[in-house]
């Protein structure tokens, strides 16, 4: 048994796991910070909504669609100059976070928009009838009512980010996916491949069940 894992350097695995977690945490944080407001703006300016703005919505929607249709691997490379500008390096974990955020934010924003559209219009009307300002409608009615949907969106985005981080090895970001490609695939070290894939699977599993639990906890319907 030990022989089978002879290629596995547990220190490398540990460092790669840390890299993955750092990329995931960092990119998720910025994705939420940027994607949530973008999702709200998309929702508000969308068709038949409170601030219907055909032009603004069409423009934002177009940008979101462009970013979503680019394969992440291409985005990773195309973004290099901008990544340099933002983080000072296009390498490592720091070099991976801007493209990860750029890839996940439009995705997350769309999911947030959809979650907000699920909120019963009657609730918005009732809140308006109470004399709420737009900001109050968003913070007191829309976001609390859409919370389960937004949590589910966060879960899906986090899992998508896990698979994106696997590609971040291209810019030398490391991480479990990178290990799987370089050792498991390119050097035929099947044992490394299995260990990394199992770790990724565990990570995805944890994220999904955590997300599901939170959704259940916040669902009152």
């Amino acid at each position: 048994m030990m022989q089978f894992f002879s290629n596995v350097d547990w220190y490398d695995i540990w460092m790669a796991t840390l890299d993955t977690l750092m990329m995931l945490g960092g990119s998720m944080l910025f994705t939420i910070l940027l994607g949530l407001p973008l999702g709200i703006v998309l929702f508000l300016t969308g068709p038949k909504q409170m601030f219907e703005q055909k032009g603004v919505y069409a423009l934002l929607s177009f940008c979101v669609n462009i970013l979503r249709s680019l394969p992440f691997i291409i985005l990773l490379i195309v973004m290099i100059p901008m990544t340099l500008l933002i983080t000072g390096t296009s390498l490592g974990v720091a070099g991976a976070i801007p493209p990860l955020v750029a890839g996940a934010t439009p995705f997350f924003a769309r999911l947030v928009e959809t979650a907000l559209r699920e909120v019963d219009r009657g609730i918005i009307e009732a809140t308006q009838a109470m004399g709420a300002s737009t900001r109050q409608i968003i913070t007191n009615a829309l976001l609390p009512e859409a919370r389960p949907g937004i949590i589910a969106a966060t879960t899906v985005t986090a899992i998508t980010l896990v698979s994106y981080t696997a590609m971040a090895g291209v810019v030398g970001a490391g991480g479990l996916g990178d290990l799987a490609i370089r050792y498991g695939y390119q050097r035929f070290q099947t044992d490394v491949m299995i260990v990394t894939v199992v770790l990724l699977l565990i990570l995805v599993q944890i994220l999904q069940s955590l997300g599901d639990r939170l959704v259940v906890h916040y669902s009152r319907k």
């Binding site: 019963d120 009657g122 009307e125 009732a126 809140t127 308006q128 109470m130 004399g131 109050q136 007191n140």
Partner: protein, 336 residues
Amino acid sequence: MIQFERVHKTYQVGGREITALEPCNLYIPQGQIFGLIGHSGAGKSTLLRLINRLEAPSAGRILVDNEDVTAMDARALRQFRQRLGMIFQHFNLLSSKTVADNVAMPLKLAGSYSTTQISERVAMLLHRVGLSSHAQKYPAQLSGGQKQRVGIARALATNPRILLCDEATSALDPQTTAQVLQLLNELNRELNLTIVLITHEMDVIRRVCDQVAVMDAGHIVEQGQVSDLFLHPKHPTTRRFVYEAEHVDEQELSRDFAQVQGRIVRLTFKGEATYAPLLGQVARQSGVDYSILSGRIDHIRDTPYGQLTLSLVGGDADVAIEQLKAAQVTVEVIRA
């Protein structure tokens, strides 16, 4: 009080102009329960939403307590809305908040109440609507009637003078409807609350309203005291609503009339006259024999009424009619 001056509302749908409300004038006095009845699409929902400007009129002025709602800027409108309550057909409670938090919401939004004030007021309101023990539940755990009572408590949180009811009982079963209407009735009396309610059920109008306006295709076709409209409907739409509520079939009635002899009269008793033993007295004194062809006896809000269609045979029918009129009974001769 609420006043509409030549208010008019049109929508643009796909480049076409659709009229939701034809130019209309309306006056709703303070402290009354005012009903608006109409089929779906008649414009009653639009009219209701014009009062708190959830919809803006295309033309005309709306005055509430002498303030011009149509001229308010965003800030003034928000403050104005805080002085108005509204309840909805589908309750529109926030599913993510407890009953107590739902009721507290208008107070929190207003921003001028302390936490202690809010919790005291919420406790008082929930007690008033009989839901004190449900304060920490979520709306999904309540029945329809309970949800609407939470809606009412929430609408009254900021102590409004006016309550707007948008089909408030249409999603409820008959028994729960009766309870909610009873609550509205009590609140109207206790707080001198002006209530504007829209419905498509004449029965709701009969049970709680003082005045009613009947709407059809964007027009107010008939308007007045509920007792007048209900007992003597003039416009065909009004007639249809009343007959629907009373299960009257006009064709069936006229077939019945063809089979009886003598004069046919409709007598309407209101208030005390409803209980007086009039018919027997009049029959004895005038020598008229009568048979009852149709009838209804019930209450309009709290006023008892009776309406009987009789055929009068023999004796002196003119004397009988004079005696009935003298006793404050409205007599309509259907067939002389």
